[in-house]
C-alpha cells in the first residue's frame, strides 16, 4: 500500500495547492480527495507518528482544549501534527496528515494531536488507533445533524468497546454524567471542578443528561457548575460522580479576559493563570492538563503551557474593528452561548453587541437553539445590539423576548454594513461580537481583507 500511496499523496497535495491559488481555504479538500483515492490513507500516515496520536472530542471546547494541550506539549519539545484550523472530520485530519507527510514514508512530526467531530470519533478512532482519547462534554447541539445526546453517547460507548477502543487511555470529564459513565470500569483518568463557590442556584433550562444513563432515574445534583456539569449521584442505582485525579479548586473568573485556579494533579498542585475567560475555559484547561498528565508531562510544564495559550480566533480573541477594540466570542449551541453570556455578565456596565446568526450547514440549519440560550442574562445590560447574518431577524426577536428594549436592537442582515454600524458606537468601549461558526469565518475574512486581522490558517 505504501508504494502506491506516494503518487496519491502528491496528487492530493497538488489539488490542495490549486484550490488555494483560487483563493479557497482548502483545509479539508486535499484530505477528502486523498481518502477517496486511498480509503485507509489516514491509518497509513498516522502509523508514521513515532509517539502515536491523541484525540479530543466534545461538543464544546475541542479547538481550545487542543490549543492548550499543544502549547504544553510543544514547550516540552514534542513536534506535533495538529489540526489546529479546526477541520475535524476525516477530510480535515487527512489534510493535516498529508501536509506533514514527507517522502520515503516519513512524516514531519512525532505526536498527532487531533480534535475530532463527535460523529466522526468512532470511524477516526479505528483509523488513527490513538494512545489516548479525551472526552470533554456532551451538550445539545445542532440536533438536525447530531441527533440526540443519548445517540452520540451510545456511538462513543460502542467505539470504546472495540478492540482498538478498549486499548486507549481514556480521559473523561467527571462532572458530565453522560461522559463520565463511559469511563467507568476501565480505569479512566477523570478531571473536574471542586469549588462550591461556583455552584449555580438552579440548573440552566437547556441542561441535558439529568437522568441516569444506567437506570433512568433522575440524578440528585449537589452542585451544578455549567449546564448539566456538576456533582451528581443516582439515588436509585448508586452511580455517582467519579472523583477526579486532575481537578481545580479556588476558581477565580476575571471577566471576559482571564481566569485563575488551583490545579491539582497526582504530581502535586500549582496556581494556574489562564489568559482565557470563563468557567468553560477552566474546564478546557483541566482537560488539557489531564491529557498532558496522562502523557507524563511534568506539572510545571503544564502550568506554563496553559498560561502561555492565547485565545484562538473567535474564542475570546480581541481584534480591532475600525480602531475600536472588539472581542469575538463564538456562540454555536445553548451551553456554549450560556457560558459566553454568563462571562459577559461578569463585566460591569452596559454592553454593545454585534450578534451574527447564520443557518448554514456548519452552523446547523435549525436556529431554534437560540431560544434555549439564556440571553435574559444580558437583558437590561444592553446599550445597543446590532443583529446580522442569514437569520438576523430571529436573533433580534430572541433579544426582544429576552427583555432587551426593541429600540436598542438594530436589524442589519448584511454583515459588512452591520460591522460598520456596530463599530461606530462608543469608541472607548469594547464591542462584543457573538457570531455562529460560519459567521465567525466570514467575519474573519472581512477583517483580514480590511487589514485588521491576520490570516493564520496554515
Amino acid at each position: 500500500m505504501t508504494v502506491l500511496l506516494a503518487p496519491k499523496l502528491a496528487l492530493a497535495r497538488g489539488a490542495g495547492a490549486l484550490s488555494r491559488l483560487r483563493g479557497g481555504g482548502a483545509t479539508s479538500l486535499p484530505g477528502k480527495l486523498l481518502v477517496r483515492m486511498e480509503p485507509h490513507a489516514i491509518s497509513a500516515l498516522a502509523a508514521r507518528l513515532r509517539f502515536g496520536c491523541t484525540l479530543i472530542s466534545a461538543t464544546n471546547g475541542k479547538t481550545t482544549t487542543a490549543a492548550l494541550a499543544a502549547s504544553v506539549l510543544e514547550r516540552g519539545g514534542v513536534s506535533l501534527v495538529h489540526n489546529q484550523a479546526g477541520a475535524n472530520m476525516a477530510g480535515g485530519i487527512a489534510s493535516t496528515l498529508l501536509a506533514a507527510s514527507r517522502t520515503r514514508g516519513r512524516i514531519d512530526g512525532e505526536l498527532g494531536l487531533f480534535e475530532v467531530d463527535e460523529l466522526w470519533l468512532d470511524r477516526l478512532l479505528a483509523e488513527l488507533r490513538p494512545r489516548a482519547v479525551l472526552l470533554g462534554n456532551l451538550f445539545r447541539d445542532q440536533l438536525d445533524r447530531y441527533g440526540e445526546l443519548d445517540t452520540i453517547a451510545e456511538r462513543w460507548s460502542r467505539a470504546l468497546a472495540t478492540p482498538v477502543g478498549a486499548r486507549v487511555r481514556l480521559l473523561c470529564n467527571a462532572d458530565d454524567p453522560l461522559v463520565a459513565d463511559l469511563g467507568r470500569e476501565r480505569g479512566a483518568l477523570y478531571f473536574g471542578v471542586e469549588d462550591d463557590s461556583l455552584t449555580l442556584s438552579r440548573m440552566a433550562h437547556a441542561a441535558d443528561a439529568k437522568h441516569c444513563r444506567r437506570c433512568g432515574s433522575p440524578y440528585t445534583f449537589d452542585a451544578v457548575y455549567l449546564g448539566h456539569l456538576g456533582h451528581y449521584r443516582c439515588d436509585s442505582c448508586g452511580q455517582a460522580r467519579p472523583s477526579p485525579a486532575v481537578f481545580a479548586t479556588d476558581v477565580r473568573l476575571q471577566g471576559v479576559r482571564a481566569a485563575r485556579f488551583r490545579l491539582h494533579t497526582p504530581a502535586g498542585q500549582a496556581e494556574v493563570a489562564l489568559a482565557l475567560p470563563g468557567l468553560y475555559n477552566v474546564y478546557n484547561a483541566l482537560a488539557a492538563a489531564a491529557l498532558c498528565t496522562a502523557l507524563d508531562v511534568p506539572l510545571e510544564q503544564i502550568v506554563e503551557g496553559l498560561r502561555d495559550t492565547a485565545a484562538a480566533f473567535g474564542r475570546a480573541e480581541t481584534v480591532t474593528v475600525a480602531g475600536r477594540p472588539a472581542q469575538i466570542l463564538l456562540i454555536k449551541n445553548p451551553a456554549g452561548a450560556n457560558e459566553v453570556l454568563r462571562t459577559l455578565a461578569l463585566e460591569g456596565g452596559e454592553h454593545e453587541l454585534l450578534g451574527v446568526l447564520n443557518d448554514r450547514t456548519a452552523d446547523g440549519h435549525d436556529v431554534s437553539w437560540i431560544w434555549d440560550a439564556d440571553f435574559e442574562l444580558l437583558a437590561g445590560r444592553v446599550r445597543r445590539a446590532v443583529c446580522s447574518g442569514t437569520r438576523a431577524a430571529e436573533l433580534a426577536l430572541r433579544l426582544k423576548y429576552a427583555g432587551v428594549e426593541p429600540g436598542r436592537i438594530e436589524l442589519v442582515e448584511d454583515l459588512p454594513r452591520a460591522l460598520d454600524i456596530a463599530a461606530g458606537g462608543e469608541r472607548e468601549q469594547p464591542l462584543y461580537v457573538l457570531p455562529t461558526y460560519t459567521a465567525m469565518l466570514a467575519l474573519r475574512e472581512l477583517l483580514v481583507r480590511r487589514g485588521e486581522a491576520t490570516s493564520s490558517w496554515r
Binding site: H205, H211, D366, D372, E394
Partner: protein, 248 residues
Amino acid sequence: MTPSPSLRVCALYPDLMNIYADRGNLLVFERRCAWRGIGFELSASSLGDSLDGAAHDLYYIGGGQDRDQILCAEDLHEHKHLALHEAASRGAVVLGVCGGYQLLGGSYVLEGDTLAGVELLPLHTVREPAPRLTGNLAIEVLLDGSPRVLAGFENHGGRTHLDAGCEPLGRVLKGHGNDGRSGYEGARAGNVIGTYLHGPLLPKNAWFADWLIATALGVDHSELAPLDDSFERAAHESARRAAGLPAA
C-alpha cells in the same frame, strides 16, 4: 366580552419535553399577554404529578429524546389521560409539538415498542428505519377560513398517519410534514392541535400565537390589542425564505 383576567398555561413535562427550545413558545405566550395587560400564569406538571383538567386554558407539550418520550407516554397514560380529555372537551387549547404531537395520537410504534397515546387526535405514528425528516418546513393552514402560512423547522423520525376523518393542521408548501408523502402536516380536532413545526414555532408565527391566546381565552382574535410586530414579521419572512417560499 372582556378577556378573562389571565391566560393560565400548563406546561407538561417542561423538564423533559423541551428538546427544541420549547420554552420559546411559552415565553411568547407570557410576553404577548404582558404587553397587552393580560395576566399570565404558568404551571408545570411532570412525571408523577397529577393534572387538573379544569384549571388551565392552554396545555402545552413539547418534544423530547426517545428515552424521555417513553417515560412521558407511560406517565400521561397513568396520571393525565382523563384530565386532558376533560380539558379538551371544555374547549381548552391543547398544543402538542413534535414528540408531544406524537403522544396526542392513538399510538407511537418505536423500534418494536408501542407507546399508547392520549387519543385526543385520531392518528398513529410509526418510527421508520428510513432517515429522519429534517429541514425547514412551511405549511398553509385554514384556521379562520382564510389561508395563512406557518413556517419553521421539523426534525422527526416518526411518520404520522392520520386516520380517516382526521383533519390535518395544514397542507405542506415546503418540507416533509406528517410522513413525507401525504402532503399534510399536523392535525387538529377542535382546539387540540398537533404539529411537527418544532420548538420556537410561535415567535416567528406571532399571528398563530395570538390565535392560540384568543382561542384559549375564549375571545375573538380582533379583541386582542395590536402589538408592534416588526421583528416578528421579519423573522417570519426569514423563516419563509429559509423554507424556500417567496416573500409574502
